[in-house]
Every structure is written in C-alpha cells, then in structure tokens.
C-alpha cells in the first residue's frame, strides 16, 4: 500500500476546531500515555479547558497481563480533577483494536462516575476487536496488517505519524 500518511500537525487544529463547540464548564481532558498524552498536551491549550490535563497509564488494567506481564515501568496516572459528573474527552493517538480504550474506561470508573466520555483520536486505523468507536477522528488511515502506525515526537515537540514493522 502506498497511501500517504496524514500530517499529524495539520490534524491537531482541525480536531480542536471540531471539539470546540462541545466544550462546556463540565468538560475535562485525559490523555493516554504515551502518544495520547502528547496529542492531549497539544489539544488541551487550544480548547482553553479550566482544569489541568489528566494523564493515564493503563498498564494495570491491560487484558494481556497473563501473556505479556508487566514489562515497562508504567507511568503514574494523574487525574488532577474530580471525575464524578464530568464530560470527559479521552484522547489517544492511534485507535486500533480498542483494547487500550476498554482498559482506560475501566480505570476511569475507579476514579468516579463521569457523566459522559467521548473518545478523541488522531488516527483510526480500523481493525477493531471490541465494540468501541471514536467520536472525533483526525484521520482514517489504511495500514497493512504487518505494520504498526505510531506517533513520534521530535525534540522540538512536533508530532508525526510513522509506519513501523509490527514485531
């Protein structure tokens, strides 16, 4: 497949423009480590949300622990606002099987009962294994099965989507 990858930097302002009309005083944002956190760190100031950004690492909620174990140091989940009753924007970089989002929602409910959760992703590559969809998608990208779509962050903070061999 030769389809060109979209420019992450161009997708960010478009996503922010799409999100702006739904922002209310009850809206708060949570980014998923690591790529989703990068996207959220960029979107958060564009939307002028009053609460600081929440960051989540779903390592303790994964469904492949029995097979994969706990390989990397998980980052600390920090949600610096009350989740109860909020309208949450859950941000990830690439939506694929849906398992990360499943784990993230489980973790979120251990913090409280949000009024709503909307999923925001920079790229949707299809291939869902769970009944999960994103409400806001930067771009839909076709990716060969043997490739992985990854978000990279340069030293200057610029974000870029890349294809890697799935290993």
């Amino acid at each position: 497949m030769t389809s060109k990858l979209p420019e992450a930097e161009e997708l960010l302002p478009r996503l922010a423009a799409e999100l702006r009309p739904r922002v209310t005083p009850a809206t708060a944002m949570i980014g998923l480590h690591t790529g989703g956190a990068w996207v959220a760190e960029r979107l958060h100031p564009m939307l002028g949300l009053k609460d600081p950004l929440g960051l989540m690492d779903i390592a303790f909620y994964r469904d492949d622990y029995a097979k994969e174990g706990l390989k990397h140091d998980p980052k600390k989940t920090r949600i610096p606002f009350e989740v109860e009753g909020r309208d949450l924007l859950l941000v990830d970089d690439v939506l694929y099987t849906g398992r990360t989002v499943r784990a993230a929602m489980n973790e979120l409910f251990d913090y409280g009962r949000p009024r709503s959760i909307a999923l925001v992703v920079l790229a949707d590559r299809g291939g869902r294994q769970l009944p999960i969809e994103a409400q806001h998608v930067g771009a839909r990208v076709e990716v060969p099965k043997d490739k992985r779509l990854r978000l990279k962050r340069a030293d200057n903070g610029r974000l870029r989507l890349e294809l890697e061999d799935a290993g």
Binding site: A59, F60, Y61, Y65, G69, L70, K75, K76, D110
Partner: protein
C-alpha cells in the same frame, strides 16, 4: 558461573529471593513500578484488576503479623486471591517436610508464594522446586535477607533524596542479626550510594562486614556526622541482657538515636526504622515522632513496593 536463581532465561525477575545479585535495571524497574502503585493507593478505589484470578499464598513458617498483613494488602489491591497459612501452627508441627508442604500447596494451583522462614535459604530451596509458572517472594529468611523491606527502604530514600549519588547512609544498631541491613547494603551499593556506614558495638556487627563495601564505626557520634539518611535497626528483645549486650539502658546510651545525636547528621537528614520500634532502646520518642522521621511513610510505600514486586514476578 551459576545462573542467578532469581532470573528467568530472558533475564527477567522470576523470584525475589535477595537484593544481592539483582542488576541495577531490575531494582529501578521495581522502584519505578512502585511509584505508579503509590498513585493507586492514594485513590478512593485502591485496587487495580491486574492480578485478578491469581492466587497468592502467604507461607509464614515464622510468625510475623505485620509483614504478612502488608503482603496481604498488596495482593488484595492487585485483585489477587490471598490465602494465609500460618504453618508454624500446622502441618510442619505434624512432621511434614518443607518441600511436601509446598508440593501440596502447589497442587492447589498457586501462582505466588510469599515465604517467611526462620532458616536462611528456605525460600531458595522452595524456588528450586516450584513449577515454572509459580513464583517465590522471600519475606525474610533467618538472618539472611528481607528483600522487600530493603526495597521499600530504597524507595523511601529515593522519594526524599531523589537520587543515590552523593548520599551518605548510616545503618545503626544490631547489624549482626538483621536481614534488613544486608538487603539494604546490597541495594545501596548497586544503586550507587557512595558511602554506606554501619554503626554498632563490635559484638553486634558481623565479622568482615567491611567486605560488603561499608565503613564501620563503633562511635555513633562520629558515624552520624554528615549523614543524609539514618536507618535505625530494631534491637531484638531476646538479645538484650544476653552475652552480647550489657542492658537496654546501656545500649540506648551508646547507640540510641536522640535529638542531640541526630543534630550531628545533615540538617535535612531523614530517619528510618523497619519497625516495630523499641522506644527508649534504639530510638528516642522525640526523634521517632519528630520532623526527620519518615517511619510511617515507609509503611505506606511498603505496600506499593510489594505490589510492584508481586505484579512483576507474576507476569514473567
């Protein structure tokens, strides 16, 4: 060279038996993972589903309510099922051998064994005989090691002092009978603490302790000078009035930590103690309850450190 019995073929932590011989990367992995679990234990729901369906057996061949409880809390916060066996009062007293006991428990589908035993090396023996998917965590064996206590001490030091390079750490008291001291010394040297001191009377320091890379002091005032961290060890009641020590009062005079002696350490020094404390024997109450004391935070961090160890070994 003998393979490290704690690591699997990929060099990952399979059992936690001792801090000795663990590479720096694994120590850092445990401390890093524990930091994330501290976040979990501060939430309203203090539980994650990571070890749902796994069985953790607490095998305490020697009574220790406190250590057993911290492992139990850690396992429950990981959603594991915990089975507490006070073996001191059961089969062993009927004459069953250690390995028979473990084989029987293993037949009940265990995933993790937490072992406390009065004999040094007992957890190693068990680790050699369990099935590949079973994991052993040493919760204290004889005078040999108490690695999770050592790890929580390391965690506490890193929490307050950020890094180990540049630190002077003093370990004070009954080093001879302390498994905590050995575990901590190995951890500190592996993580690069430049100066570890042991302070105590000749009779309570192991012969040749210098070989572990520590500086020996018999005068507590000289030993405390300029320290960043002071770790007090428990003087076990049964040692008092024995041949090694004249009396508890005498010991307190020479090696008890008072505010006046602590003033010789750095102004921002922290004071640690593995508990349970003997107030007025190894530590004076105003110090134990004072602003330098981090003894209660140690207990809190201990849960997160045990969650980290359990979830890392059970996943490998």
């Amino acid at each position: 060279m003998l393979a490290n019995p704690q690591l699997n073929a990929n060099g990952e932590l399979q059992h936690l038996l001792s801090i000795e011989g663990l590479p720096r990367e694994i120590l850092l992995q445990i401390l890093g993972t524990a930091e994330s679990f501290v976040g979990v234990t501060e939430r309203e729901v203090k539980k994650v589903p990571l070890m749902r369906g796994k069985s953790v057996f607490n095998l305490f061949f020697e009574a220790s309510t406190r250590t057993r409880t911290t492992f139990e809390i850690a396992a429950k916060r990981l959603s594991a099922d915990v089975i507490n066996l006070n073996i001191a009062a059961s089969s062993q007293s009927k004459g069953e051998s250690l390995l028979d006991t473990v084989a029987n428990l293993s037949a009940m589908q265990a995933d993790v064994f937490i072992v406390r035993h009065a004999s040094s090396g007992a957890p190693y023996l068990i680790a050699r005989h369990v099935k590949p998917h079973e994991h052993v965590i040493n919760a204290g064996d004889g005078r040999h090691a108490h690695p999770t206590q050592g790890l929580l001490d390391l965690y506490t030091i890193r929490h307050y002092k950020k890094e180990f390079t540049g630190l002077t750490v003093a370990i004070v008291g009954d080093v001879l009978h302390s498994r905590v001291a050995r575990s901590l010394i190995h951890g500190l040297t592996t993580l690069g603490a430049p100066e570890v001191r042991v302070i105590g009377p000749q009779t309570l320091l192991p012969a040749g302790v210098e070989a572990l890379g520590v500086r020996v002091f018999h005068d507590m005032r000289a030993g405390l000078a300029g320290c960043d961290v002071v770790v007090m060890l428990r003087l076990q009641n049964e040692r008092m009035n024995g041949p090694l020590l004249p009396s508890a009062q005498e010991f307190f005079k020479s090696y008890g930590l008072t505010a006046e002696k602590l003033a010789l350490a750095k102004p921002d020094a922290i004071v640690m103690h593995p508990g349970p404390m003997n107030r007025g024997v190894e530590i004076d109450s105003p110090v134990a309850d004072g602003p330098h004391s981090v003894i209660l935070p140690q207990v809190t961090f201990g849960i997160a450190v045990r969650m980290a160890v359990m979830s890392i070994v059970a996943g490998n």
